[in-house]
């Protein structure tokens, strides 16, 4: 059997349904758009927080071990070799006193203070350091405790430098964002599902005579069902397009980047858009199946 006439009939009927019930179709479109906007927005926010977490985690897993001024170069090399050989250490890199001063001068804007110190005979107060890049954040405390007792280490108020608090805090924020997003999506999703179901029931009521005749002449249930399922899917996909458009617009206007998608990345943006389209189609299709079920009772 040639399937194209059937597909043509189903699509034409679905579009007719949308147009005939334009008011309720628009109401469905609005609620589904809100749902998808909430879901898409939550995904983007969680993704952004996740990116911040990774960035912070990457920075926080760097342990700066300050070295005492009197330590010989050979001792430093030995310590560096010893630390670099540990499983949890990805990389150990020596930073000299001069390099630390250059970093403070250009990175932190402390050039004038350093120059003043030098001119008054104070020399360079910044210690040399071994900068350890660790495999994961949990290793920071272990390595920190291990190196602090070494006689090679600068014995000031801060013999090492790392930030152990930022990760749990960020993880807490992400969890809150995920829960809030899930609740938001669940509530609006339920409302959207109800509206789609009502919309399809209305469409089925409007076309009750047509459905009755289709049943009487022997149309299969799926043949009767598909136009309504397509109608729901059309509404869902249209809503996804609107929601994606709004998200892109917001990203373009308020995002951190100068160009489209620069803030969240083109690849992730495409994943979000595809996800919205699939979610819209599924939401519309499922709502329609629920809506049409009663009308098909023989």
């Amino acid at each position: 059997m040639n399937p194209f006439p059937a597909i043509r009939f189903v699509l034409r009927s679905a579009l007719q349904n949308v147009v005939r019930n334009l008011g309720i179709s628009l109401a469905s479109l609005l609620t589904v758009t809100l749902t998808l906007l909430g879901a898409g927005g939550a995904v983007v926010v969680v993704h952004a927080l996740d990116a911040v977490l990774h960035s912070e985690e990457s920075q926080a897993s760097v342990l700066k071990v300050f070295l005492a001024d009197h330590v010989s170069l050979q001792s430093i090399v030995e310590l560096e070799t010893q630390l670099a050989g540990q499983r949890q250490v990805v990389r150990a890199q020596f930073e000299s006193k001069d390099a630390a001063a250059r970093q403070a001068c250009h990175g932190l804007g402390l050039c004038s203070a350093l120059n003043t110190l030098r001119s008054t005979g104070g020399g360079n107060p910044l210690p040399a350091s071994l900068n350890l890049k660790l495999r994961n954040i949990s290793a920071v405390t272990t390595i920190n405790n291990e190196v602090r007792t070494s006689p090679l280490i600068f014995q000031g108020a801060h013999p090492t430098d790392y930030n152990p608090d930022v990760i749990p805090r960020l993880e807490r924020y992400i969890l809150i964002a995920q829960i809030a997003g899930a609740v938001l999506v669940a509530v609006i999703g339920a409302v959207a599902l109800v509206i789609i179901t009502i919309s399809i029931r209305t469409a089925a009521y409007v076309r009750r005579r047509e459905i009755e005749i289709m049943k009487l002449v022997g149309a299969s249930e799926w043949f009767i069902r598909w136009p309504f399922i397509f109608e729901g899917m059309i509404i869902g996909i249209a809503s996804a397009v609107v929601a994606a458009g709004i998200l892109i617009g917001v990203e373009f206007l308020f995002g951190s980047g100068h160009a489209l998608f620069l803030g969240i990345g083109l690849h992730f943006a495409l994943v979000v858009i595809a996800g919205l389209l699939v979610a819209g189609a599924l939401l519309g299709g499922f709502g329609s199946m629920v809506g049409i079920r009663r009308s098909l009772a023989v």
Partner: protein, 243 residues
């Protein structure tokens, strides 16, 4: 023996001790048994509420018998699965008192609709629609809308739609209920003509005048029971119908 002198074929419709009680407790049919053979013409007569329409609803399996068996073309409808229902209904052409036409479609589109929703890839759709409309005498009304037609013409469109996929059984539930006597007679003539083409026809009606004129087999129902079946040439006990 059948019309042709050969042994009668297997009955195409069988009611075997069928009773039907609706969910509200109202009994519609009580212990009804009869058979219809292929190419037969049968009137089911009775007053409103006698159980005629329930018989039609059982045949198209809109309802299921509470007791007994309804068989169509050898298939027990009680055992019919829901997904098999469309196939059963494609064997039948069905018309009702209220025509059930789609007002926003032309005559041609209304008739074609029956094929489009059951067999959308079917070839020669236009020719088949034209043939069905020719049989009912409406070949010149292709582009008219139901609202532009008389009651009789609308019923003819409904008949064409029921005929277009060449059913083996034609069921008509009060097909002349909304029509004047002359038009009703025209519709019945058309049903006889369809029967002569080899289709089994069952007509449920309360119009006894037409039934008497046609001289076909008649089953009379009263209070959900068969009180007369002319094919058996006898009156049944408790019947009050006149011959």
């Amino acid at each position: 023996m059948g019309r042709t002198g050969q042994p009668p074929a297997r009955p195409i419709i069988v009611f075997e001790r069928v009773s039907k009680t609706y969910e509200n407790g109202n009994p519609a049919l009580e212990d009804v048994s009869f058979q219809v053979h292929p190419k037969d013409f049968l009137f089911v007569v009775g007053a409103s509420g006698a159980g005629k329409s329930t018989m039609v609803r059982l045949l198209i399996r809109e309802e299921v018998a509470s007791r007994g068996h309804v068989l169509v073309d050898g298939q027990d409808l009680r055992r019919l699965r829901r997904r098999q229902l469309p196939r059963l209904r494609r064997k039948m052409g069905i018309v009702f008192q209220d025509y059930k036409l789609l007002p926003n479609l032309t005559v041609e589109q209304n008739v074609a609709f029956a094929i489009q929703v059951t067999n959308p890839g079917r070839r020669h759709l236009k020719e088949k629609v034209a043939e069905a409309l020719y049989i009912v005498g409406l070949e010149d009304k292709l582009l008219s809308y139901p609202g532009q037609l008389s009651g009789g013409e609308q019923q003819r469109v409904a008949i064409a739609r029921a005929l277009v996929h060449r059913p083996r059984i034609f069921l008509a539930d009060e097909p002349t209920g909304n029509l004047d006597p002359d038009t009703s007679w025209g519709i019945v003539q058309l049903l006889l003509q369809i029967n002569h083409r080899g289709t089994t026809v069952l007509v449920a009606t309360h119009n006894r005048e037409i039934v008497d004129l046609c001289r076909q087999r008649v089953i009379a129902v009263e209070g959900g029971r068969i009180v007369r079946d002319e094919a058996q040439g006898q009156y049944l006990q408790g019947g009050t119908a006149t011959p």
